[in-house]
């Protein structure tokens, strides 16, 4: 488990899925009625590949106000002990809300074009 996955799982006290099935599973592996057991399983859905622009953290401008963490619709801001640490690029869709909401005069988050070679996932 990567560091970011571990962090995203902390948001919920409901435990993990009892069973993981995906688009390569045979029909016998699926749960009856398509009922998914266990919560906190959205981290299995890697939305990072939707991104065309990615946020970049400019640490020297950051005041750790965590507004980005509050506004991020995908829980993709990695924060611990009151500090903004970076981004969960497996799930960040590159919407740019964090950069928009960043309150410092010199922005601590800027959106840059997604590199073609290295997606970050």
């Amino acid at each position: 488990m990567t560091k970011t996955e571990e962090l995203t799982a902390q948001g919920s006290g409901t435990g993990r899925s009892e069973r993981v099935f995906n688009t390569s599973s045979g029909w016998k592996e699926f749960p009856p009625g398509g009922v998914i057991r266990g919560g906190a399983n959205s981290h299995h859905f890697k939305t990072g590949e939707w991104r065309t622009y990615r946020p970049r953290h400019i640490e020297e401008n950051c005041i750790h106000c965590l507004l980005c963490w509050i506004y991020c619709p995908d829980l993709a801001i990695v924060a611990r002990d009151g500090k903004m640490l970076g981004f969960d690029y497996e799930h960040c869709k590159g919407c740019g809300i964090c950069a928009e909401e960043c309150p410092t005069k010199d922005k601590a988050i800027e959106m840059v074009a997604e590199p073609e070679e290295e997606s970050g996932i």
Partner: protein, 405 residues
């Protein structure tokens, strides 16, 4: 029995209409939630059950709703929270439920519903035919058809066990002929409340939306990549239902003395011709079979109690020795191929060497058109001609019984 005055004797029967029998079964099942919308000829079930609620005879949460779509939606919600939930409807009400019927079965919710059969509009009509339940035959529900008020009661109680069986987990509809059975008063032997409660046991849900310690997601979006797999899984439940329905029937016989199987073979042992029917008409044919057998005509009746899943194996076995078969459809599928029961029986006999021309269809009773003994006798007479195969005695593949030309 002479003309002497008989002393009153204890009877184990009560005089109940089919609707009363259904409402009494629901009272004994005592589901946690009932949501329903009244429609003729089902209205009495809802009315009687709401009386039971207001009289404190059941602890059920009764939800009056503004449509059948809402009724079944509320029941789906209740069943998803892990409780027993029931409803009842008829005709256009069932048609309005169509979307939710598929959701209930797709989510594998063990809902039990009485459907009092009534013709679909248009033209508008309140009387019996099977166009409503046959119209939803592929919605993934198990379908049981009752011959009379007793079977209505018995099927409903068994339906709970069938639906909730871990290998099945499918909704079940119990079809009852509108007015003919729903409003006719007949002898019904009820089980005592405790026997029913013991028979159905406690519902052990697979999941509950209201259990925060075991979170589930129901109804997720499942696209091209997995929908097919989940539907294939549903087929397993349907396949499992054959055995479960049979087992529950055997268990029910232990508590009631009344035997229920997928099909009922009536005097089929020596039969060379057979009538296939379901619902209240089956009883008429039992009478006619007795009349003809008394004259040495080897005709029998194959009554289908279960239409979904279709008991193809039992149909094949029962009809294997027959030379001619008449299939009675109280619905017309307007398919150009005869009624729905006819096409199913034909499909079941496919590959058995049964000659296609020896199987005929009678569409009857649409919109409550009566079926008389004479009509039933005519069917059996036609069958004898067909079995002889004599020239000039051709019977059309699809016939309309009781229709004015």
């Amino acid at each position: 029995m002479g003309s002497e005055v008989l002393a009153q004797k204890e009877t184990r029967y009560r005089a109940l209409s089919g609707n009363e029998a259904a409402a009494q079964a629901m009272r004994q099942i005592e589901p946690v939630v009932v949501a329903a919308y009244p429609i003729t000829p089902q209205t009495e079930i809802v009315q009687l059950f709401s009386n039971f609620v207001s009289d404190g005879l059941v602890r059920t949460e009764f939800v009056p709703v503004e449509s059948e779509h809402s009724a079944l939606s509320a029941v789906v919600g209740a069943a998803s929270s892990g409780v027993r939930a029931m409803t009842a409807t008829s005709s256009n009400g069932l048609a309005l439920m169509f979307e939710i019927l598929n959701i209930a079965s797709g989510l594998r919710l063990p809902i039990v519903m009485t459907v009092v059969n009534r013709a679909l509009s248009a033209p508008i009509n309140i009387h019996c035919d099977h166009g409503d339940t046959m119209g939803v035959r592929d919605a993934g529900w198990i379908q049981l058809y009752a011959e009379n008020a007793q079977e209505t009661y018995d099927n409903l109680i068994q339906a709970v066990r069938i639906a909730e069986h871990p290998a099945v987990r499918l909704p079940v509809m119990v079809a009852v002929d509108g007015f003919i059975v729903s409003h006719g008063i007949e002898n019904v032997e009820m089980l005592d409340d405790q026997t029913v409660k013991t028979f159905i046991g406690t519902f052990q849900p697979d999941f509950s939306l209201l259990d925060p310690d075991h979170i589930v997601t129901i109804g997720p979006l499942v696209l091209q990549d997995s929908y097919f797999e989940i539907k294939r899984l549903q087929v397993e439940a349907v396949e499992a239902a054959y055995q479960v329905i049979t087992e529950v029937g055997l268990d029910f016989e232990k508590v009631s003395g009344r035997c229920y199987q997928l099909v009922e073979e009536y005097r089929m042992e020596e039969a060379e011709t057979a009538v296939v029917a379901l619902g209240s008409t089956a009883g008429n044919f039992k009478e006619v079979v007795d009349q003809f057998q008394a004259r040495g005509v080897p005709v029998g009746l194959l009554k289908l109690r279960v239409f979904r899943p279709f008991p193809a194996e039992q149909v094949r076995r029962a009809l294997a020795r027959c030379r001619a078969v008449a299939v009675m459809d109280r619905a017309h599928s307007l398919s150009g191929q005869g009624g729905p029961l006819f096409t199913e029986v034909k499909a079941a006999l496919q590959g058995t060497g049964f000659p296609a021309g020896s199987m005929v269809n009678y569409v009857y009773g649409l919109g409550g058109r009566e079926i008389t003994l004479e009509m039933a006798q005519r069917v059996v007479e036609d069958l004898q001609k067909l079995a002889k195969g004599s020239e000039g005695d051709q019977v059309l593949p699809v016939n309309y019984l009781g229709l004015r030309e």
